[in-house]
């Protein structure tokens, strides 16, 4: 199994190092890993590397490298799953996973590692079992309190204190002090969708893929039962039909092993007894057949005057979301041929920004309201370069943010709908 486990910062500084088997031979394994990672040739994958009869497997999470080494030929899926689970667990205990939080909670991390892995074998990663063994408490940067909200005004004027929680509300440590448990009866439910879209240059839709997850972050004492109801018209697979309308359809669905599905068939209710911490309740996939129109449409026009080397690009972006939602942090990335020199721009609203990045034009739109249309005209000088520009712009945008509460006082439930685009490519 695992010989060593260590966490490096994004620059390669070791934050945590744990040797389970003592077979490192006296070498600085972390240093070895980082050097190998940075020196790797471009076409080799860094996920699994080999050096000196030792395999290094790592994942990148929040800018940190979580690395495990092994000398046996074990399953990559199990190992990657273990690393992800460790990342989630550390996040649960420390609030969030980052260089700062790890450095503040080193003792807690080592204690966790001791309990999770014994001589390199996985004992358990369930928060239930671990609760009984972990004594150290997490150190947070500043204590969180819901009373801080009154000064925060999100999404416009009408914010009542109990209605909206800032997006960092869920990021405090789950399993910290046992004394003030009364404050913490809250549940955060995130429906996160990743949208992957490819539109050809003639406007036809080549590929659309939605990967969705329902994530639950529970601060409730474990053992309490929870029921999550999905809309009755939720259908799985192409042939199933429920309700009277087109319904909400997904292609495939998979559930966490602790979810009881007995009421799912009849009433679309998921019953579970979640442990404290983060849990992915359900995963679903949908491709090629979206029930609602795509959120963005782009109407480009490109004029290139080869003689003077002047490239003029006019982009009109139309947002087809329902008017109440909005898209935040939309960024359009338009790859350009090499040698683009200068940029002059005319944008339709003052809070947008455009600049030349490496080999591409970045157009930032902090907020796009549903149903609106924005345009930008860009002129660039491209001195004498043959060849057309490559692929068209790609937009990356988290869309439709609304942090809506539902249910009454105790326990608090917060539901959030987040879709963000994995790769939204429109070809010119």
């Amino acid at each position: 199994m695992i010989s060593q486990f260590f966490i490096l910062s994004s620059k390669g500084d070791p934050l945590i190092y744990k040797d389970f088997r003592g077979d490192s031979g006296g070498r600085d394994v972390a240093e070895l890993f980082y050097r190998k990672l940075t020196g790797l040739p471009g076409d080799e994958s860094p996920v699994v590397m080999h050096h000196d009869d030792r395999h290094f497997i790592h994942i990148r999470h929040s800018g940190l490298y979580l690395v495990a080494t092994t000398s046996e030929n074990i399953s990559p899926f199990s190992l990657l799953e273990l690393l992800s689970r460790l990342a989630t667990l550390l996040g649960d205990y420390c609030g969030s996973l980052g260089e700062a939080t790890i450095s503040r909670n080193v003792a807690l991390v080592y204690e966790l590692l001791d309990e999770v892995l014994d001589y390199g074998y996985v004992q358990t990663t369930s928060t239930e079992v671990l609760r009984n063994f972990i004594q150290t408490e997490a150190v947070v940067s500043k204590p969180f309190s819901l009373f801080d909200l009154s000064s925060v005004g999100l999404f416009g004027a009408e914010t009542q204190q109990s209605k909206v929680a800032p997006s960092s509300a869920a990021s405090r440590p789950v399993l910290s002090s046992r004394s003030d448990q009364s404050q913490k009866n809250e549940v955060f439910l995130d429906v996160v969708e990743r949208l992957s879209v490819l539109i050809a240059s003639n406007g036809s839709l080549l590929k659309v893929d939605v990967q969705g997850e329902i994530r639950l972050k529970s601060f409730l004492p474990s053992g309490s039962e929870m029921r999550i109801g999905l809309t009755e018209e939720f259908c799985v697979g192409k042939s199933e039909l429920r309700g009277y309308g087109p319904g909400i359809r997904v292609d495939e669905v998979s559930f966490h092993s602790s979810v009881y599905l007995d009421e799912f068939e009849s009433h679309r209710i998921l019953r579970l007894q979640p442990p404290q911490g983060e849990l992915t309740v359900m995963r679903y996939q949908l491709s090629d057949d979206l029930p609602s129109p795509l959120p963005f449409r782009l109407f480009p026009s490109v004029q290139w005057d080869r003689g003077s080397g002047r490239l003029q690009v006019y982009l009109k972006l139309r947002c087809d979301l329902p008017p109440k939602s909005q898209a935040l942090n939309v960024r359009l990335h338009l790859p350009l041929p090499r040698g683009v020199v200068s940029l002059s721009q005319e944008l339709s609203s003052p809070e947008q920004k455009a600049e030349l990045g490496e080999g591409a034009l970045h157009w930032d739109l902090p907020r796009v309201q549903g149903g609106s249309q924005l345009s930008g005209l860009f002129q660039m000088d491209v001195p004498g370069l043959p060849g057309p520009p490559g692929q068209g712009p790609s937009a990356s945008a988290p869309l439709g943010l609304a942090f809506r509460p539902c249910g009454n006082a105790n326990p608090h439930k917060w539901v959030r709908h987040l879709s963000h685009s994995d790769a939204y490519v429109i070809r010119i």
Binding site: S75, F77, Y121, V122, T125, S196, R283, Q285, P386, A423
Partner: protein, 571 residues
């Protein structure tokens, strides 16, 4: 020890799986296995461990096998990818005699694998893609309808895009070839040169089956006049001209004009080779080569110079009038002024060849222009599932077979088990022994005194008569494990010119075989192979028609090598 539920279960499990006597007690063994499988209180790590342990179990009957598979079915639908892959591997190994069960399992695991390929975690995505490629080696049509999932997106890291391009190249079929080619064509103009080159090579790979469409795309790409694109396209053309002679015409038409855009060694070599071999169809070939010759003094790559020598000589043999002068200049430069000895030697060789006569030069240099049979040999590379089933869900597919071989060599002999190509089940069409094993069998000690003649035929009656009249010259026992596969053995023996007179069917006990061979002096070697019911030893008895100890020893060593190879394969 991984946490498997309780001490008793762990004890029972250990006992059952390590103790051959318990294994012999069928009922007890089975109940332990079932209890282990039914442990629903295990978390995903325990389940993965259990599935790993069960790999060592060999079910004794078909119904027991299907019993176990039924019990394990639920693991295939687990939400943990480690458990799903572990269960898949177990199914593939347990059902190694039932290819339709294996195909079924691979169908079931399609969903989870595709989900993993589009997962948020890049690393999981990569591991899943490597396994998809592994599966495509045996079932090329498996993912063809899901080709869209393998389209690359701009934000993915380079190594994932490369894997996806490889997968796209391998899952092409008649229905999706149009869209896949269009997508790949889009990648060819990508900003990243490496990725564009990989896409072009993929199109070259598809071109072996769908030549016309790919040739069109490749020719269009040449029109872009971009250096990194042109060099790879010309290299692809060279490979295609060799493998698919029908596209030579199109290649020749597309070539003129490329030479301005190629600066790197590989590209130049490919272009020069094409001009040399197919020069008679390209009108301005001599002029292009002349350009190269003018600049040969400033040429930095010796490989290019060597290629140039060969190409100019070839072209001279087909178009002498135009090339005579420049060939002379080139040879003069290479022999008199060139500092690289390899190039100079080649120049000298060609000069002396020409002195020997034009017809001799033609005989040596005018090789065939293409070899389509090579393509057919490569296409036969569809390997049976059993050859890689043991490697599934391990690090082997993630590294790739080539890298794993180098790693295994570094790690030493102890780790040899799963890395040897596992060819326990040959495809029933009876194709050749895979290359690696053939080499091992042929690496026989050069016995010097022993030359077994091929096509030696001895009738059964003759064999029997001779057998009964001779006395046993040599007897030996050989350690053996498991059953014999007669077809494998027969083919292996045929490679070394040993004829099989008679062989029992697989599984009969005791298992016997009678072999005969004759060396060039006419001395006959008759052999009997006997495998006892205990299946742990194979007894070899050899009778020789003329008493010659040296040749006998050589023959024994040949036989040992063959049997050793076959025995190794199965262990």
């Amino acid at each position: 020890m991984p946490y498997l539920g309780s001490e008793d279960v762990v004890k029972e499990l250990k006992k059952a799986l390590c103790n051959p006597h318990i294994q012999a007690d069928r009922l007890r063994y089975r109940s332990v296995i079932q209890r282990v499988i039914r442990m629903s209180k295990l978390d995903q790590w325990g389940q993965a461990e259990v599935l790993n342990f069960l790999l060592r179990y060999q079910p004794r009957s078909e119904e027991e096998l299907f019993d176990i598979l039924n019990l394990l079915d639920s693991f295939l639908k687990s939400s943990s990818p480690g458990v799903v892959m572990g269960a898949t591997k177990l199914f593939l190994i347990l059902a190694k005699k039932f290819p339709h069960v294996q195909t079924d399992v691979l169908m079931q695991v399609k969903g989870p694998l595709l989900a993993a390929c589009s997962s948020e975690s890049r690393e999981l995505c990569f591991a899943a893609l490597c396994h998809v490629r592994q599966i495509l080696h045996s079932l090329p049509g498996h993912f063809s309808s899901h080709y869209k999932k393998f389209f690359c997106s701009y934000s993915e890291p380079h190594y994932i895009k490369l894997q996806k391009v490889e997968v796209l190249c391998e899952l092409v079929n008649d229905e999706n070839v149009q869209q896949v080619l269009e997508e790949l064509r889009g990648y060819c103009t990508d900003v990243s040169a490496d990725f564009a080159q990989a896409a072009i090579l993929a199109i070259g790979g598809i071109a072996r089956t769908y030549t016309d469409q790919c040739m069109q795309i490749l020719t269009e790409l040449l029109g872009l006049r971009q250096e990194h694109i042109t060099t790879v396209v010309v290299q692809t053309f060279r490979d295609l001209a060799w493998l698919c002679p029908q596209c030579t015409e199109a290649v020749c038409q597309a070539l003129p004009g490329c030479e301005e855009n190629i600066q790197d060694s590989e590209g130049k070599q490919a272009l020069i080779w094409l001009l040399g071999v197919h020069g008679k169809r390209i009108p301005n070939a001599p002029y292009v080569l002349e350009d190269f010759i003018e600049n040969v003094k400033s040429e930095t790559f010796p490989a290019v110079k060597m290629e140039l020598l060969t190409a100019v000589l070839r072209l001279f043999l087909s178009r002498p009038a135009e090339c005579q002068d420049m060939l002379g200049r080139l040879l003069h430069y290479c022999i008199e002024e060139e500092k690289d000895m390899a190039v100079r030697d080649r120049g000298l060789f060609y000069y002396r060849l020409l002195l020997a006569g034009i017809s001799e030069a033609k005989q040596i240099l005018c090789s065939p222009e293409s070899d389509p049979s090579l393509r057919l040999l490569e296409d036969q590379a569809e390997r049976p599932v059993n050859s890689w089933a043991l490697d599934f869900n391990t690090l082997v597919p993630v590294y790739g077979k080539a890298r794993w071989a180098t790693i295994a060599k570094c790690q030493g002999v102890e780790h040899h088990g799963p890395e040897l190509p596992n060819t326990a089940a040959f495809p029933t069409s009876g194709s050749l022994i895979p290359e690696e094993n053939k080499e091992r069998v042929q690496e026989l000690p050069d016995s010097g005194a022993l030359m077994l003649i091929p096509n030696h035929q001895l009738t059964a009656e003759c064999f029997e008569k001779t057998w009964l009249s001779l006395k046993v010259a040599h007897q030996q026992v050989f350690p053996w494990q498991g059953a014999v596969h007669p077809d494998t053995l027969q083919m292996a023996l045929q490679v070394v010119n040993i004829q099989t007179i008679a062989m029992s069917r697989a599984g009969t006990q005791p298992w016997k075989a009678y072999l005969s061979a004759q060396d060039d002096t006419g001395c006959l070697f008759l052999t009997e192979l006997l495998l006892e019911p205990a299946n742990l030893q194979m007894q070899i008895s050899v009778k020789q028609s003329e008493a010659r100890t040296e040749t006998l020893k050589s023959f024994i060593s040949v036989l040992e090598t063959v049997i050793g190879t076959i025995g190794d394969i199965k262990s």
